[in-house]
């Protein structure tokens, strides 16, 4: 079932708007991420979908049905909390079967379905254990199985991976994606981790200060950020930003006159800064020069700090043999992708439209180009 918000606002005391007149449609059968820094309104949005909160203004639809006034139970949502909230006194199987027990499903039927769900999330060997005997990842799996047990119209996951260590987080995000694809249940996933969102989601809604910044696929978000907030929030290392006034003369030949006068900030992805002499790269936008500040190698990554336009910017499109000495001038070039100009209010003014067939550039591809 798709979820539609129509002009939804939420204010706690009629003064502070947590959510400000937002409208969107979460498509059916897909995995959608709500992404943003803490306090941006993403958990509030999730609680509005679940029915644990009701909006001060606006309408919420599940499919054609207006559910604005309905509570969590009537909306039939499945929810997974950050700390899993498994019932500590019940076994894994009892935990999974609990929603069905409450819905008065016959015992034999619910045990059968419970076992199927346990198999789906790969905890079928732990059925008689108590939650405290499970690892964090296993508890997460059980929580997902329990949320799926009542065949929810929508599955909601509130920062489900935050309590796991880094390796398990990567494993579990693949698992959540697999489970979502196998069951086809419309899933909404809240996170503050942009990398997690990019890896897991079919589309991402970036929220900040109670407003939707951009709602599109992960790659479009990376390749075509609508505004400076999205550009800075998505991608690691964080996109380089330079006051446009410092460097605008270098770009005179590339950008239109209006951008030349309106642009206030230029943002350049680290992988878009490549050696000027790279023989394999035919797609350079323009050659530039700066000063090499420092370089560090971290395994497969080489990170170069260089001074350009009065700012220290980070480049990871270099190999060690491309580098000069620290403190010496360095020639470099920009690739056409991953360079954006934003105006005073943070909106992207250049490039105006980006052709869809430009494939996203991954840092690794540039390194081996």
């Amino acid at each position: 079932m798709d979820v539609k918000f129509q002009n939804v606002s939420l204010a706690y005391d009629n003064v502070n708007n947590i959510l400000n007149n937002i409208s969107f449609t979460i498509p059916e059968g897909q995995l959608t991420c709500l992404l943003g820094p803490s306090g941006c309104g993403k958990s509030t949005t999730l609680n509005l979908i679940s029915g644990l909160l009701s909006p001060t203004d606006g309408q919420i639809f599940f499919g054609d049905q207006n559910v604005t006034k309905k509570d969590a139970l009537a909306r039939k949502v499945g929810m997974v909390f950050q700390n899993y909230a498994l019932y500590p006194h019940m076994t894994v199987l009892d935990n999974i079967c609990f929603p069905m027990k409450m819905a008065k499903v016959k015992k034999a039927d619910r045990l059968k379905r419970g076992r199927e769900l346990a198999a789906l999330v790969h905890v079928e060997t732990e059925l008689s254990k108590k939650p405290s005997e499970l690892s964090g990842g296993q508890q997460q799996r059980v929580a997902i199985a329990r949320a799926l047990a009542k065949s929810p119209s929508i599955l909601l996951l509130d920062e489900p991976l935050s309590n796991l260590d880094a390796r398990l987080r990567v494993e579990m995000r693949e698992e959540i994606r697999r489970i979502q694809k196998e069951t086809g249940v419309t899933t909404v996933f809240v996170t503050h981790d942009q990398e997690e969102a990019i890896h897991i989601a079919d589309q991402i809604m970036v929220l900040n200060e109670g407003k939707i910044q951009q709602f599109t696929t992960p790659n479009r978000l990376y390749d075509q950020p609508n505004n400076l907030f999205v550009a800075k929030f998505i991608g690691s290392p964080i996109i380089n930003t330079i006051p446009f006034a410092n460097v605008r003369d270098d770009f005179k030949t590339v950008v239109p006159n209006k951008v030349f006068s309106d642009g206030t900030t230029i943002a350049i992805r680290a992988e878009s800064i490549v050696p000027a002499t790279d023989p394999h790269d035919h797609l350079t936008l323009l050659p530039l020069s700066g000063t090499q500040v420092q370089s560090n190698r971290f395994g497969r990554e080489t990170s170069l700090s260089l001074n350009y336009g009065g700012q220290t910017i980070v480049a990871d499109g270099f190999r060690e043999q491309d580098l000069g000495r620290n403190g010496k001038p360095l020639q470099f070039a920009l690739r056409p992708q991953g360079v954006f100009v934003f105006n005073q209010s943070g909106e992207r003014v250049w490039p105006e439209t980006i052709t869809a067939n430009v494939s996203p550039i991954k840092p690794t591809e540039v390194i081996h180009a």
Partner: protein
């Protein structure tokens, strides 16, 4: 410092730190316990010279052929069965209400806790008035329902109920506080999840709150049972130093007290004390055995 191996010196230092408490415990707890065990076998004993002339089972033989002792065991059982279930249930209900009602919760908590900090003597005086057959509050209240005045404190049939009611009232406050602590330790999220899982308020109580509260329920039951078996001062004050009309509230500890202080039969008093100890032990073991299956420690 952390991985220090125990040496003679460090052990002695540890004992020096432990000594003050250890000595007090040994002198006033451990020694009397063993002494009273031993005393229960003294059949010929001079209390003032501490001279034991004969040992044997005579004290036990005596109490097990004494109808008063059987009466005291029976009364104690009735008292425990009368007090503990109602006390636990009532304090759980009140705690649940107080946990939900935020309005004046502090005032209510204080009011319920007051009996616990008030001396038993003062409480008993008030209850003697409440139970008075002619001027008492309880009979005045019951008369509205057409109940004839009951002579609570002088009728052998009503003395035990009167004692039970007062004891429940007195212990309520402490049990409520314990239950409130238990309730506030339960993560609110379980309730939220259960709500999403489709459980109504009653189902949430039965399937979530009650199991998660079980360690505290267990604690309250065990302590209530133990203090129930040891009941004495409430009886002493409520019935003016007598074991109730017609020995109707003669309990084991009261029996022990009478043998020791009124009749100077130390051996018999000690023997009844040992029987009480064994009774409490057995009941507590049964409770622990039961708790293995039914108490969930998160």
């Amino acid at each position: 410092m952390i991985k220090q191996h125990p040496t003679i010196k460090s052990t002695l230092i540890a004992f020096a730190y432990l000594a003050p408490m250890l000595i007090i415990t040994l002198v006033f707890n451990i020694y009397p316990i063993f002494k009273s065990f031993a005393m229960s076998f003294y059949t010929k004993y001079d209390f003032f010279t501490d001279k034991v002339s004969a040992l044997g089972w005579a004290n036990y033989k005596f109490i097990f052929s004494d109808p008063d002792f059987y009466l005291s065991v029976r009364n104690t059982m009735i008292f425990v069965l009368g007090v503990v279930p109602f006390s636990v249930l009532l304090s759980l209900i009140i705690a649940l209400l107080l946990h939900r009602v935020r309005f004046l919760a502090g005032l209510f908590k204080t009011a319920y806790f007051l009996p616990f900090v008030t001396s038993t003597v003062a409480i008993s005086l008030v209850w003697q008035w409440i139970y008075n057959d002619q001027y008492g509050l309880l009979n005045a209240f019951l008369s509205h329902f057409g109940v004839h005045p009951i002579d609570w404190l002088n009728d052998p049939h009503w003395a035990m109920p009167a004692l039970i009611i007062m004891t429940i009232w007195k212990g309520l406050g402490f049990n409520i506080i314990l239950f409130l602590v238990g309730l506030s330790n339960i993560d609110k999220r379980y309730d939220q999840v259960a709500q999403i899982d489709g459980a109504n308020a009653w189902q949430r109580f039965i399937h979530v709150t009650l199991p998660l509260l079980s360690p505290m329920t267990f604690l309250v039951s065990v302590t209530s049972v133990i203090s129930g078996f040891k009941v004495f001062d409430e009886i002493f004050v409520l019935f003016g130093g007598s074991p109730g009309p017609g020995k109707s509230t003669l309990t084991i500890v009261f029996y022990l007290y009478q043998k020791f202080y009124s009749e100077w039969k130390y051996g018999i008093a000690a023997a009844s004390g040992v029987v009480l100890f064994l009774l409490i032990l057995v009941v507590t073991i049964i409770q622990f055995w039961y708790s293995r299956k039914h108490v969930h420690y998160a």
